[in-house]
Symmetry: C3
Subunit: 387 residues, 3 copies
């Protein structure tokens, strides 16, 4: 594609002093035919702990995404053909990072802002809070509470009008972390997919460890009684003794269930010839589903977070590819799940969300996952980590 | 009252994208006769740790209130007939919550912004910092460092021109706290009173514990040598061994006193037939006083914080109705002072400030408190908690 | 100087509601002849963790300073005659304090924003993180992550057109700290110097301890292989056993060196008849140098921070006069390096930066430092603190 065919608009760039603030960018502004359904709106939020958060509503054909540059380019939710992908957290605000104290209450302050469909965890560490190697690690790392810079919209001016929203998120600490993450959210008019492509670069002179979990969360209407997970998996095991009780039903979703709290399952995914693993959660009648694909070279494991408690508590299932499981990092060294990023090296994380809104799409995805599953997954009753 | 007679103006509402910013709302704007002395001014503060704080100056007849929506609808101070109710903290700035680290220095970062007349403590916990049930609780909870949303001015367009300023403050943490507090500050032209009515709602599916302390603070000119407290009380006891020394003089105020630091007294108040307890602090010649009324069903105990150190240290007395005393929560379970709020339930806290500026008003209040005190309060020399 | 000859412009003042925001103040605006090279530009930064930071670019003749009022009036860098004084930290953003959690990872969150040439450490405490007297002290104190208020530009309208930029930074905590720091950065057209004059005032009724370190940092082009330090010193000792290895070469700079990390040296400076100590770092061929002067009555000791690791890690040398060395405060009481500031008293810290850009200037400075060094400094091999 020649750059002549690329519309580009900078929404935020500190070094150039650009901040588009409240704005609308129409198809016409992008040099597209007027009837092409592509639009970007940005709102600067104004009250409570939302003050200063930016919320971008990006429409591309039948898909509408709400993206939060202020929270590391999170996707708050997505809709396609009127079906919403995301969840209803008790946290209603798009909380600005300046109101989050990640160290609060033993390192769980991250939960004060947790409500998005796509939440990045990492990159210096992810997982549960606690001490590792003399350093206290807060829940799921720092990236999600880091505002992006260099937020740019790019639109190809010819069908299928591919739209990319890019943002850059720094995770820096003198003598410790020198990470830059270039994120891209890409979608086009003719596909049900959202493509995430994040590139983590270690700008330091020294190798460093890192972790990443893509904490993707889905509630109603996909999640409902009888909704089912389909994951091409080599092995499935419970995160802890509580989840062990639910291992047999790990893939079947109950209605909102009082006192269920959460069961977490560790999955070792099978990947296809392109190096992608897949998980699908379909609603009961298989008329709609979320499909999560991910490249297993950098995201080798998958966490299923079955948080099917009451609606008010946040009835939600997480489909979370990662470098690591959700344990505190101290448990993951010996599992080989704390990878190294070499000096000046980059790691790319690819996640593809299929927003499936027809029975045909769901069955196709299911079939392709079943093709990968040539023999049954090993069900390991014992948690791999003793907590 | 019909809504036709109600003027309403939204000052801040994130979901509607409203932020009135710097503004003046005059009596005429409110649809009141021009000579009615009602006005609201809002300033967005600009420097130091004030950057971004909102300060509302609300004039209603002879009363002027300064209210801080950014700090949970705190009342910075109030004046009536030129007499100021509030205090002079060494903290001079209206500190924006984004500059407060509540966990700092063992959980006392809250003190970096502490300077208002009405400071809410709570609602998941209040009291001194320290660990309880494996969770570290910072001083006086999180609410005061939470910016309000849905800030609305309401004015009745007929005498006595009742004015209400409402704001909504969320205290949310996934899996832990799902509280919303709807606050209202109400006053009218013909009364010396400020009415606080806060409704805490537990939006979760599960019961939760909560605590609230209304940390109301008053310095000069009400507080002076010879100023006196009048509290209808069943029992008064010292908070600790240091306060025990001052128990006999608990209600009499000295001049600013070097090295006094603070003495705290725990009071079990008597309530009147309307369920209200009362405390009055009058200046020496009883020409002015602050009267604090509170509903004892939800605010059953009262803390008197006698911080009569030097002027520079913050010469101040706190009159603090609460669910609880000022101890760390771990000490209050067995005292029965950590109440439960049931799922979906609400609790309403009512505090009425009487800004008394004449001898007649003071004597009336004193008499009505004395009427409640049919027999002398029990003076308990031993602190109820061993620290 | 009569005030009639003084141009004054308030850039930020919360009590007056002034915030100049993005602005340019030209020589003409200042009432200077048009060809006098004096200008101030202020930018409000917009993206990432820079959002809301102010950056002032102040040009005075051959000198250009970048100053960050939002970070306690830090000097990001300075250039004279095209030579830059400052360093290249891995932290590239001018991080707004609201994104800094100083307590993070054992109290080192301060490092997330560390990239300036002049960084103030203090004033309640400075030095390494750790517990002292039951309080956890975070790295280098709170002042650097405190936004200034009362930012004022003052320009004398007659040669040599002295320019001062003033700002006020509060460090307050009820019952603990009641400090105000009035800072001034002064320079004039005809001199290579930047004058820092900071006045710390203890507004409390009680004496308090305090600490200050002026963490001045310089990288390339002054720092290079063969760059040399010249310090008039009574005694030089290594901070720890690692630095002891490098004591003999303490003053000679290698090229960027993998795995060097940092060596820190404690210096007891000699002062001249004006009570000033001096340190000079000159580049290899002595064509340029940074000279740091400081008044030893309030800044009696000097830390040399030799952080000559790779360029990417931040190849930098710190020349840091202070009340104290860089140890945690707990180690400095017995060294007599935790001074007291009496109630209502002020302490003034003066630092003068010589931006030397010619061989002549460098040799002059070197000679004057050598004059002070009448006998060789004592080289103490043993660290004065056992860590």
């Amino acid at each position: 594609m020649s750059s002549a065919n690329l519309y580009s608009k900078v929404l935020l760039n500190s070094s150039d002093g650009i901040d588009a603030g409240n704005c609308v960018v129409s198809a016409l502004d992008m040099g597209l035919p007027e009837d092409v359904k592509v639009e970007l709106r940005q709102c600067v939020l104004t009250g409570g702990k939302e003050q200063g958060s930016r919320l971008i509503t990006l429409t591309v054909g039948d898909k509408v995404l709400r993206i939060v540059p202020t929270r590391a380019m999170a996707i708050l939710d997505a809709t396609r053909n009127g079906i919403r992908f995301g969840w209803d957290s008790p946290v209603k605000e798009v909380v600005h990072p300046s109101f989050i104290d990640q160290g609060a209450s033993g390192g769980i302050g991250w939960l004060d802002g947790f409500n998005e469909m796509l939440v990045r965890c990492g990159y210096q560490w992810a997982g549960h809070p606690g001490e590792d190697n003399g350093e206290f690690l807060t829940l799921h790392g720092r990236i999600q509470n880091t505002p992006a810079d260099k937020v740019v919209l790019e639109v190809e001016q010819i069908p299928p009008y591919r739209v990319a929203l890019r943002g850059c998120v720094d995770e820096k600490r003198f003598k410790s972390t020198n990470f830059t993450v270039n994120t891209a959210i890409t979608l086009s008019l003719d596909e049900p997919y959202i493509y995430i492509e994040d590139t983590l670069t270690n700008k330091a002179s020294y190798d460093n460890s890192y972790q990443a979990i893509y904490h993707n969360n889905f509630g109603a209407p996909i999640l409902e009684e009888g909704a089912k997970l389909h994951v091409a998996a080599n092995e499935i095991s419970p995160f802890n003794t509580y989840a062990a009780i639910g291992l047999n039903d790990w893939d079947t979703m109950p209605a909102p269930t009082e006192n269920f709290d959460e069961m977490v399952f560790n999955v070792k995914p099978i990947s296809d010839k392109h190096g992608f693993g897949y998980a699908l959660m379909a609603n009961r009648n298989e008329s709609a589903a979320i499909e999560v694909g991910f490249n297993t070279d950098t995201l080798p494991v998958l966490t299923i977070w079955k948080n099917v408690d009451t609606v008010e508590q946040g009835y939600v299932v997480g489909i979370e590819p990662g470098t690591s499981f959700a344990y505190n990092r101290k448990h993951q060294w010996e599992l080989g799940l704390v990878p190294t990023i070499k000096a000046k090296q980059s790691k790319t994380f690819r996640v593809r969300f299929g927003l499936l809104t027809s029975n045909k799409e769901v069955l196709q995805s299911k079939a392709s996952i079943q093709t990968l599953q040539t023999e049954p997954a090993t069900m390991t009753a014992e948690p791999i980590v003793k907590l």
